[in-house]
């Protein structure tokens, strides 16, 4: 199955958007590239060291590889993506408001009732519970893949606590330092306003009881969390306090933080802690990361949590399979972004088909993430396939299956030189009470192993700077 290469298409003819990059790749001496690559490495290590996550021995290996060849998206391509992302996130917010409220979509038969009611991601505490400004997903990371010149698919929606935006920002910083001449030749849309956009979004979400100048904080599980570096980076860029659970307390259904000048009210919490751990009184009682009573303050409408509690249900891959219908139902428009065709193994016909074609399909757990718990049929051993066959028969509703997509590739530096490697894209979409903001671009992840389709950083993926060209 030949893959579409974003530089040279299917037929090897260089696409316009990559013309200057191709010349650059051809005319720059190889030594120059290796010098720049090691400079990039030093720079990242320094940032890593500065921010500490990559200082210690075990996590030196967690330094995510960075590829210096940028990935290019044209202005018109981005315009379509941007439109589709806004539409999709709008629909996601309306969907969540609906299933935690009137449930019109179930009444209309858009999806089976039990997909919601029996879903582990459906948070009973949030039923009929208003949230500030009726918004649930304020920060979304929508994973997108490309298969040819015209077709982009949404691979999954991340509506809980999507991470990776710090790499988007730092990849650009590194590229600006290393290759100013490339930026002079291309009109690359900036991404550096993301922190400002995020802060504006968070401030717009303050509850109505908040003061005029709301106090926004970022809640982290602490320095042992693998994404702590990003938490600390964002808090710094936004100029807000980076708090841990123990810095906050709740009195009379209002959240305060402990400061050197006494308690100070908190209005908006950009939390990077999962629902389960956020309040030991409401969810997992053994959580030491959360804030006791936080959910009572949230329910009283005195604090905004971003993202809202209970958004996990829209990350469910069986719910995902209904997204085209969800978009149509709530926005009245045809979806701009396509879904990957999905077999819901909960449906007997689909299950039959999947069982007979395991070798060609990708099978995923409905609530899995990070590239774990999945079977990539064409790359799997017989034993792995048989294991999944048993799992599927045992609990069909726990799985979906999709055809193996020929993900697009981008030229990438590897040991043997420049070679095509598969990529995906995670743009970040911000939704505030004053509208949707989406910085052009996102995080491009690249599978560094030849032929591999798994781009997750936990499994050997790297990242690239993503350039949206201003038309």
């Amino acid at each position: 199955m030949a893959a579409f290469d974003e530089m040279s298409g299917f037929d090897g003819a260089t696409r316009d958007a990559y013309a200057k990059l191709e010349t650059w790749l051809k005319t720059t001496p190889p030594e120059e590239f290796s010098t720049r690559r090691s400079q990039a490495d030093v720079f990242f290590r320094r940032i890593g060291i500065t921010f500490a996550v990559y200082g210690d021995e075990q996590s030196t290996e967690r330094l995510i590889p960075f590829d210096i060849i940028p990935r290019v998206i044209t202005g018109p391509e981005w315009a379509t993506l941007d439109r589709g992302l806004r539409q999709r996130v709008t629909a996601l917010n309306m969907f969540l408001k609906d299933i935690y409220g009137p449930k019109e979509c179930l009444k209309a038969g858009i999806m089976p009732d039990d997909l919601i009611y029996r879903n582990a991601g459906y948070c009973l505490q949030m039923i009929n519970q208003p949230v500030p400004h009726d918004l649930y997903v304020h920060i979304a990371g929508i994973d997108i893949v490309r298969v040819d010149a015209d077709n982009f698919y949404v691979l999954e929606d991340n509506a809980r606590t999507p991470s990776g935006v710090s790499y988007m920002l730092e990849n650009r910083e590194v590229m600006l330092r290393l290759f100013p001449e490339l930026f002079a030749q291309h009109r690359v849309a900036p991404v550096e306003n993301y922190p400002d956009a995020l802060l504006a979004t968070l401030r717009s979400l303050a509850p109505r009881t908040a003061a005029k100048d709301p106090n926004v904080v970022l809640l982290t599980p602490g320095q042992f969390n693998s994404a702590f570096y990003e938490h600390s980076f964002l808090a710094d860029k936004l100029g807000i306090e980076l708090v841990e659970g123990s810095d906050l307390f709740v009195r009379d259904e209002v959240v305060y933080m402990r400061t050197t000048q006494g308690p100070r009210r908190v209005d908006v919490i950009y939390r990077r802690i999962d629902d389960d751990y956020i309040d030991p009184l409401a969810f997992r009682a053994d959580s030491v990361l959360g804030v006791p009573g936080l959910i009572s303050a949230y329910k009283a409408g005195n604090v905004t949590l971003t993202n809202a509690v209970g958004t996990g249900i829209s990350d469910d891959k069986a719910v995902y399979s209904y997204m085209p219908e969800i978009v149509k139902f709530y926005t009245g428009e045809e979806p701009v972004l396509k879904n990957v065709p999905t077999f819901r193994c909960r449906e007997p016909d689909a299950l039959n088909y999947v069982l007979n074609n395991l070798g060609d399909l990708v099978v995923k757990e409905v609530n899995g993430s990070g590239g774990y718990g999945m079977l990539v049929g064409p790359h799997a051993s017989k034993a792995q396939i048989e294991t999944f066959r048993k799992k599927l028969k045992h609990e069909p509703e726990g799985f979906i299956a999709q055809p193996t997509l020929a993900l697009s590739t981008c030229p990438t530096f590897v040991a043997s030189g420049v070679a095509p490697r598969h990529v995906d894209l995670r743009p970040f979409v911000l939704t505030g009470s004053d509208g949707i903001r989406c910085v052009p671009g996102g995080l491009t992840r690249v599978a560094l192993k030849d032929g591999s389709l798994v781009v997750n950083s936990s499994q050997g993926g790297g990242t690239k700077d993503t350039w949206v060209l201003d038309a």
Partner: protein, 313 residues
């Protein structure tokens, strides 16, 4: 600012200061113990170093005798010693990491770099030369960290809390030296050790890096009461108790002004400062040097807890 942030900044500085203090004790003791015994050099100096480091109680639980190598290992690296130099640097770095954005990148680099360097010593048996280099490295860390704070931090509450940590710890350290060695610093009339004590006195001065300063200030040969005077009352001497309290009081006042609120910590610091300003070494001897030092250490600890209650929890 968050109380936890202030708390971490305060403790980062305390631990870095303590690491340097331990390094100085080891350095001065090595020098003293190398002297022939007729000049006061004695193996007993090593147990005295352990006491000065504040490890008098836990050291005997892990070692039968205090020798150069057992004490070096215990004070530098031992996992059994919660205030070993290694532990000080690790705790300082962990606190720094939790509040990374409250530090300047220079401060962070100094500490993180030292922490990475520390890894190189893991599992190695060190020679006397290695220990010498290690001690130089620790002193350099504290100079770099302190210098970075001074040169790069915004003059706001973050800076003041970090400075408070330095001076509360330093006051404690200087007082501990006096506490362990007070018996060689008694006034002329008591003649406890005679000239044998000369090398004890210079060791004390070396522990607070004040040997040269002594000569500049007093312009005469070393007298025990002048050593005590220098370490307790001399405001020009950066490690004296008076100088520490001048700084503590100054930074607490800066915090009080910024927050428009004075509290018990400010009052306690001012009281100690005025005691140090109004008394003379002869009064101290009249009332007992040891009693004075014991009271000072207790007061300083109380001030630490008061700062903590007032701002850091």
């Amino acid at each position: 600012m968050l109380s936890r942030t202030a708390d971490s900044l305060y403790w980062v500085s305390r631990y870095v200061e303590r690491a340097e203090y331990l390094a100085r004790i080891l350095e001065a003791t090595t020098r003293l113990s190398n002297l022939p015994s007729s000049y006061g050099g004695a193996a007993s100096e090593w147990i005295s170093a352990v006491k000065t480091a504040g490890c008098g109680e836990i050291f005997p639980q892990h070692h039968d005798s205090a020798t150069e190598s057992s004490v070096h290992h215990f004070l530098c690296f031992s996992p059994d010693n919660p205030s070993s130099i290694r532990n000080c640097i690790e705790v300082a770095r962990s606190n720094a990491r939790a509040v990374r954005t409250a530090l300047t990148s220079e401060m962070w680099d100094a500490l993180n770099g030292a922490w990475l360097e520390l890894k190189k010593y893991d599992g190695k048996t060190l020679t006397r030369d290695d220990y010498g280099r290690f001690i130089e490295f620790v002193k350099a860390l504290s100079l770099t960290f302190d210098g970075s704070a001074y040169r790069t931090m915004l003059r706001s509450d973050a800076y003041w809390f970090s400075r408070l940590g330095v001076y509360v710890e330093r006051a404690d350290n200087t007082a501990r030296i006096l506490d362990v060695k007070y018996h060689v610093l008694l006034p002329e009339t008591e003649k406890v050790g005679g000239s044998l004590d000369y090398f004890q006195w210079t060791t004390i001065l070396r522990e607070v890096s004040a040997l040269t300063a002594y000569h500049w200030v007093y312009r005469e040969s070393i007298k025990p009461w002048l050593v005590a005077d220098l370490l307790i009352f001399n405001r020009q001497m950066p490690r004296s108790l008076a100088s520490c309290y001048e700084n503590i009081s100054r930074f607490l006042d800066a915090i009080g002004d910024a927050y428009s609120r004075q509290g018990p910590a400010q009052r306690m610091a001012r009281k100690t400062l005025s005691t140090l300003a109004s008394r003379k070494i002869t009064d101290i001897y009249d009332h007992g040097l040891h009693e004075f030092i014991t009271d000072f250490i207790n007061d300083n600890n109380r001030l630490g807890s008061t700062i903590s209650e007032q701002y850091l929890v």
